[in-house]
């Protein structure tokens, strides 16, 4: 009640009796003394709540302000010049840099981790012929492309810039990218994959490259860049014009909707119905109803007969959790019914046991596969629990093992070829040094000997397929025999051609 007079005065807008201009020092001092300055309350708020709201003020705590950042003012930082080695480098270059003395001297160079090598893909001759053959590209040029991509770490502009395959046709950047990515995709897709399908697809997705789309994109960009000043101006003008038109239309539509609503009330319906200009308002409702009825009939009428005509019960794919649970309970597996087979009744697959359908390896390499899997503790001919998933799993395992055995076989084959060529090189070098002084009779005999031996080689290869140990023995035996027959020019010629044909097979 202390300030009641002042309050009344302010409510009634009666000017304060005290002269405004004159300083009212004593009064102010009084109030200041009466009202203790509250912490954390602005002056204006303080003035408003006055002394009467002291209780309220208690609730105000001092706001917690953010701590001022310590801008290194607290103390001096010691910097040291230290020698370091970059683990990302292959050479042992030692450089020096300034580091804070507080950093751990044993920690490695922090930027070394950014020196990552992108995985580079390589392929064997066999993979090339099976998956990667392309009319536009030879294997040599593809090899060159991959080597240059590796060299420049998939920095395509540099690759394109320095791409220079002798005797090759001119390649655009997109050609190069297209070839590289398509090869990578094919390799990932065709090689056995250790992880799950999702990660495989992700990897394939990362190698996605659409050449046509890329070309179109660049064409668009180019045309965008090549506009003349006038074209740009015109385009902008058109853009503004179209915006203006759109806005006009919106405005017009809004106005008409408002009008409709005021005239027809709730019946006028939705604001997004646009009637043609000049349509009398009275019939809009009818027109609408007609339209509705018509569309409803349209929706209903056409599809029904065709659905009814299907005689066999159509199994709908179970997508709901309930259906899945039902199927799991009753051991039901649904597949998309083949569209063609409904007519041919004969092609019914009789009931079978899952274990009947276990995948069988190719007869030629079956022993090797059995051996390889036995080493891993897996029997390929039987499963403890031949469920559907396990059969699929076993098939994947067999595929991978088949690929492995095939690769091993190829390695042996190439090794054999290398051995043959080594022999030939040694032979030629030897001949070059010694000079040919051998009697021609011996030469003929040797030639016959060698051809016989080559004739026998395929058997040796078959033997190689039996086991790794025997392979080595076959090869070493062959080597010794061949080194016995180091002799003449003619022999080597026959061997090399034969080796060539053999490789093709």
């Amino acid at each position: 009640m202390a300030a009641s007079a002042a309050d009344v005065r302010s409510i009634l807008a009666i000017p304060d009796p005290a002269p405004k201009a004159g300083p009212s020092k004593p009064k102010k001092a009084q109030t200041a003394a009466a009202i203790r300055k509250q912490e954390g309350i602005t002056r204006e708020v303080q003035g408003l709540i006055g002394g009467s709201a002291a209780g309220l003020a208690v609730q105000y705590a001092k706001p917690r302000l953010k701590q001022k950042p310590n801008l290194g003012g607290s103390g001096k930082t010691h910097w040291e010049l230290r020698a370091f080695k970059n683990k990302g480098r292959s050479d042992d270059l030692e450089l020096k840099h300034w580091v804070k003395s507080t950093t751990d001297p044993t920690a490695g160079y922090p930027f070394a981790k950014y020196n990552i090598q992108s995985t580079s893909y390589t392929y064997s001759q066999d993979e090339y012929t099976r998956f990667l053959d392309d009319r536009e590209w030879t294997k040599e040029e593809t090899d060159y492309l991959f080597s240059i991509v590796r060299e420049y770490d998939t920095r395509w502009y540099i690759i394109h810039d320095s791409y220079d395959y002798p005797g090759g046709m001119p390649r655009t950047l997109e050609d190069l990218k297209d070839r590289y990515y398509s090869v990578c995709r094919k390799l990932v897709r065709n090689r056995p994959w250790a992880g799950d399908e999702i990660s495989k697809n992700q990897l394939i997705q990362s190698f996605q490259f659409d050449k046509d789309r890329e070309l179109t994109r660049k064409k668009y960009l180019l045309s965008l860049e090549n506009r003349t000043q006038e074209q740009i101006v015109e385009e902008e003008a058109l853009y503004i014009e179209i915006k203006r038109l759109e806005q006009n239309e919106r405005k017009f539509k809004k106005e008409r909707d408002d009008l409709l609503r005021t005239l027809a009330g709730v019946d006028s319906g939705l604001p997004d119905i646009i009637e043609d200009d000049g349509t009398p308002l009275g019939i809009t409702g009818d027109a609408k109803r007609k339209k509705k009825g018509g569309t409803a009939m349209d929706i209903d009428s056409p599809a029904t007969p065709s659905v009814a005509s299907i005689a066999t019960p159509v199994v709908k794919r179970p997508q709901t959790a309930r259906n899945a649970a039902y199927d799991a309970q009753h051991c039901i597996i649904r597949t998309d019914p083949p569209l063609t087979s409904s007519a041919t009744k004969a092609a019914h697959q009789p009931a079978y046991l899952r274990s009947f359908k276990l995948p069988v390896p190719k007869a030629a390499i079956a022993p090797k596969i059995t051996q390889a899997l036995a080493e891993l503790g897996i029997s390929h001919s039987r499963l403890v629990m031949p469920t559907k998933d396990n059969c699929v799993q076993l098939e994947a395992l067999l595929d991978a093992t088949t690929a492995l055995v095939e690769t091993k076989r190829l390695v042996d084959k190439v090794q054999a070829d290398i051995d043959v060529i080594k022999e030939q090189i040694a032979l030629r070098e030897g001949r070059g040094m010694e000079g040919t002084t051998e009697p021609s009779v011996a030469l003929d005999a040797m030639e016959m000997d060698d051809t016989n031996e080559v004739e026998a080689e395929p058997e040796g290869e078959d033997g190689r397929a039996q086991s790794v140990v025997s392979t080595r023995s076959v090869r070493s035996r062959k080597q010794t025999r061949r080194s016995m027959s180091i002799s003449s020019v003619d022999t080597t010629a026959t061997v090399s051609t034969r080796a060539g044909t053999k490789r093709k097979r």
Binding site: C331, H348, A351, L353, L376, Q393, L397, V411, G432
Partner: protein, 256 residues
């Protein structure tokens, strides 16, 4: 029967988990004396049953009665037995006999006529002697074998019906199989494809469970990863060798 019942439900296959195999126990001297043929050393039971075991039962599998889709199971025993072909038309589909030797038993499962399916042939090697980790048939003396308790040899499998007739499907779905227990409660049945399970198979009547399937899948997954790692190694080797070969060829060309 409505004609709609004899329509095949396309794009659907339904399977029933079964087990087949045998359990064998060594006969005591007393028992042997009572037998007509005293040279028989074992009593065995060969059977086709549902995969899940009934709770607290003393046999492997057989929680469900399979006669709702199996009409007859024929066990063809060794020719030395009297009436070697035993037809079993009602559950339990099993034959108990005594004998002294292991042999191959031919099992023929005939389905009810509603299925429209032909009978199915499978084979089981009668197992009398205890399992060994190596799989080698080493026959311990009878007094040792008798202490090891009954021998179990069971194979899990699934009979798959493709595009079943509607009425057959209805019949099957009205008898959902008892699901296998999720976790191992009893010993697992030993299987030659997984010799490491020998220890886990000891100590009572075994039971099939779901985790066995998962474990097997993991085993194969492990093996596949190893194979692929190996394959990557060999591929790298192959590519290296091919490069070497190319080089050699060039050297050779220069020489000639």
């Amino acid at each position: 029967m409505a004609s709609g019942d004899r329509v095949r439900v396309r794009g659907l296959s339904i399977f029933r988990p079964i087990i087949y195999g045998n359990t064998a126990t060594v006969l005591t001297q007393k028992e042997r004396e009572t037998l007509p043929s005293p040279d028989h050393t074992h009593r065995w039971t060969v059977a086709v049953r549902s995969a899940a075991s009934a709770p607290d039962s003393e046999q492997v599998g057989g929680a469900d009665d399979l006669s709702y889709f199996v009409k007859r199971v024929t066990f063809k025993l060794h020719d030395t037995y009297t009436n070697p072909t035993r037809n079993i038309d009602k559950p339990p589909f099993e034959v108990s006999e005594t004998g002294w030797g292991e042999f191959e038993i031919q099992i023929r499962i005939a389905f009810i006529s509603e299925s429209g399916e032909k009978p199915m042939l499978l084979y089981h090697h009668l197992k009398l002697h205890p399992w060994t980790a190596s799989g080698d048939p080493e026959i311990p003396p009878l007094d040792v074998a008798i202490k090891q308790g009954p021998v179990h040899s069971w194979q899990y499998d699934e009979i798959v019906f493709n595009d079943p007739y509607q009425n057959f499907l209805n019949l099957l779905t009205s008898h959902p199989p008892t699901p296998l227990p999720k976790i191992k409660k009893r010993p697992v049945p030993f299987h030659l494809a997984h010799p490491a399970s020998l220890e886990a198979s000891k100590g009572g009547v075994p039971e099939f469970n779901v985790s066995m399937e998962k474990e097997e899948a993991e085993r194969m997954e492990e093996a596949r990863k190893k194979v692929i790692a190996e394959q990557d190694k060999w591929r790298a080797k192959l590519i290296e060798k091919e490069k070497e070969l190319e080089k050699m060829k060039k050297v050779l060309e220069q020489l000639s």
